[in-house]
């Protein structure tokens, strides 16, 4: 299907594009440009004047051990969230694909968490894992496990990873299920006749055929973990204890809003923006090449 609508004048197409372009301009291009400009300035301690300092903010940020710590936290956090969310979603999708009865019910239930706001999902997990009021938190302590994510950094990280991954499982699940259902049944039957048991079939036929989906989701999940998990971290740990769960995006917020170090905060957000642009480019390049059929 290649039907192009051709407009006669210029006015109508411009008008139709305008709302889209206006939204992008006001909510993305303008703030992004402001961030880039801000990242080149340095404010005095009282916020009364600012001086142009070139790339000094970037140099400071990259040399700052606190920023490097946040980057390391982010690497651990983002990769754990992506692996957990993808793994669980794939497992659930395979089960849902097999289910014959109640498939629609099962699917609907699994899609629900996606509709829950990050802060609410955080509160939900808090009710489960809080050491004194959480169901699981109290059970763990009663069983002799010293569980308190407000004191133990690793436990705090584990909790924000679980809460963040939980929200993303639904999204991944939908894509994996669609991917599984687009694999021709006869290919799986051919593999069965060729002697492959279900587990072997999965790893040698199903999983490779899902790889374009998996790669797409990996990028989406990384972007999610980098940018969209602010709410979860803010509600659960506020980056603590200490700086144990302070990710790059959370540090942008802390430095800009709490510490009012606008230049540094802007430089950090520009770095993140460059990262996500790079990720998107990689995705478009690779997905094209890795589709098998």
């Amino acid at each position: 299907m290649d039907r192009k609508v051709i407009f006669k004048g210029r006015a109508l197409p411009m008008l139709l594009l305008l709302p889209q372009l206006a939204v992008t301009l006001v909510f993305f291009i303008w703030p992004a440009a402001m961030a880039v400009w801000q990242s080149l300035l340095q404010e005095d301690a009282f916020g009364l004047s600012s001086t142009f300092v070139g790339l000094e903010n970037f140099a400071d940020v990259l040399a700052d051990p606190a920023w490097r710590g946040a980057a390391a936290n982010t690497a651990v956090f983002a990769s754990s969230v992506a692996v957990l969310a993808l793994g669980v979603a794939l497992f659930l999708a395979v089960q849902a694909d097999k289910a014959i009865r109640g498939q629609r019910f099962y699917r609907t239930m699994l899609i629900w968490p996606y509709a829950v706001a990050p802060a609410i999902s955080a509160v939900l997990w808090l009710f489960l894992f809080h050491p004194s009021i959480g169901l699981i938190g109290r059970a763990l302590n009663a069983a002799g496990v010293l569980w308190d994510y407000q004191l133990n950094g690793s436990q705090a990280m584990l909790l924000v990873v679980i809460a963040s991954a939980w929200k993303q499982v639904s999204y991944n699940f939908i894509f994996f299920l669609a991917g599984l259902q687009s694999i021709p049944k006869s290919v799986l039957e051919a593999a069965a006749i060729d002697g492959a048991r279900p587990l072997r079939r999965f790893w040698t036929v199903v999983f490779p055929l899902l790889s374009p989906t998996t790669f797409f989701l990996l990028v989406v999940n990384l972007v999610y973990a980098f940018f969209d998990t602010f709410g979860v971290i803010h509600a659960l740990t506020k980056g603590g204890p200490g700086k144990a769960t302070e990710t790059l995006i959370y540090k942008v917020y802390v430095d800009g809003v709490d510490n009012l170090n606008l230049g540094s905060s802007a430089a950090q957000s520009v770095l993140l923006m460059v990262f996500v642009i790079a990720l998107t480019v990689v995705q478009f390049r690779f997905v094209e090449r890795r589709v098998h059929y």
């Binding site: 006869s186 039957e189 006749i193 055929l209 098998h292 059929y293």
Partner: protein, 356 residues
């Protein structure tokens, strides 16, 4: 190489029964073609033999071994699918080697057999390609290769040629038959195409509404169809089926369309007035003879060496005739003769063949 025995196979999906008790004994090295219109249960039967479906009742035995409850992997069979079902992410060589690899065949042995099979099928230059880089005919060959390479006890073909164009189909049909005879592997071949059925099978199973209407050699099916369904299904153009009643003490039939035809092979039982269906193949109709019917022609199809005539009899029944040479154009009424020695006699109610 093995025998295949099906006994009393039935299959129901919920309240719908698609197979009503199929029995079949296939000899070692025999090629059986299961033919029927769509929805007759032929593919379901094949999938039951493959183990992709479980029969509701009945048993499947391959080489004398009961396999009814076994997984497809444990049956030592190979199958060629209608859409080829090649693994899209593997090269041609990997596609063929997959089954061997799973069985733990040594690497050098796999390489040797892939090369040998590719040579046999003429796909050597394609080994490094992915299925999407192949034409329909090439994919078909790779699918065959994947089946052959494992040297299974049984080949199953599920309408393997129906996605190919007409010319390629004829060519591949010949190749499949030659290959099967050369390898001597017992085969089950499902098709809806009667030409494939006639040319490929040692024996045919003509299926109709979940039952085997006739199991016999192609020539037997053609010359002595077991019922009116088989009579109409095998042969092109289809056999003419005309209404009549038994007459003259069972020695003749009075056609509704007029003439009285005397049986040349002896009387039928049942007494005068018994309703019959008389079958005459279009190619057996004559221009001249004793029992003349007048056909109002409505379509004439000249095919060069012969002409196919379609028309209507005075009884309102349609009649098709295939005559040698050229024949007059549409619109004219034409007298044609029904030869008494070429009649097929069926009971009008049950549709079963009535022999003398």
């Amino acid at each position: 190489m093995a025998t295949l025995n099906l006994s009393a196979i039935t299959k129901s999906f919920g309240a719908t029964t698609v197979l009503h008790g199929i029995d079949l004994a296939v000899a070692d090295g025999e090629m059986i073609v299961i033919v029927g219109a769509s929805g007759c249960g032929k593919s379901t039967l094949l999938r039951i033999v493959a183990g992709l479906e479980a029969p509701t009742t009945g048993h499947v035995a391959i080489g004398g071994r009961e396999v009814t409850r076994l997984e497809p992997a444990d049956r030592d069979i190979a199958m060629v699918f209608q859409n080829y079902a090649l693994y899209p992410h593997m090269t041609v060589a990997q596609n063929m080697a997959y089954g061997l690899k799973i069985r733990g065949t040594p690497k050098d042995e796999i390489a040797r057999r892939v090369a040998e099979t590719a040579g046999l099928l003429g796909i050597g230059p394609l080994l490094a390609r992915k299925p999407r880089e192949l034409s329909g005919g090439q994919r078909q060959r790779v699918a065959m290769g994947r089946a052959i390479i494992r040297e299974p006890k049984l080949f199953l073909f599920d309408e393997p040629l129906s996605n190919l164009d007409a010319k390629l189909r004829v060519q591949m049909r010949g190749e499949i038959r030659r290959l099967q005879q050369r390898l001597g592997v017992t085969s089950l071949y499902v098709t809806h195409d009667q030409v494939e059925a006639m040319t490929l099978g040692d024996r045919l199973v003509v299926m109709h509404q979940g039952r085997a209407a006739q199991v016999a050699s192609p020539m037997e099916v053609w010359s002595r169809p077991a019922d009116t369904y088989v009579a109409g299904f095998i042969g092109s153009p289809a056999m003419n089926l005309l209404a009549g009643t038994l007459a003259e003490g069972g020695t003749a039939v009075q056609l509704k369309a007029g003439p009285l035809l005397r049986f040349t092979d002896g009387p039928r039982a049942g007494g005068d007035g018994r309703p019959l269906t008389i079958g005459v193949r279009p190619e057996h109709m004559l221009r001249d003879g004793e029992a003349i019917v007048t056909v109002a022609l409505d379509l004439v199809e000249p095919l060069g060496s012969e002409t196919v005539l379609h028309g209507m009899l005075s009884s309102g029944e349609v009649l098709t005739a295939r005559l040698p040479g050229m024949v007059p154009a549409v619109g004219s009424a034409m007298p044609l003769a029904i030869p008494a020695e070429a009649l097929h006699v069926f009971d009008a109610e049950s549709g079963r063949r009535l022999d003398a």
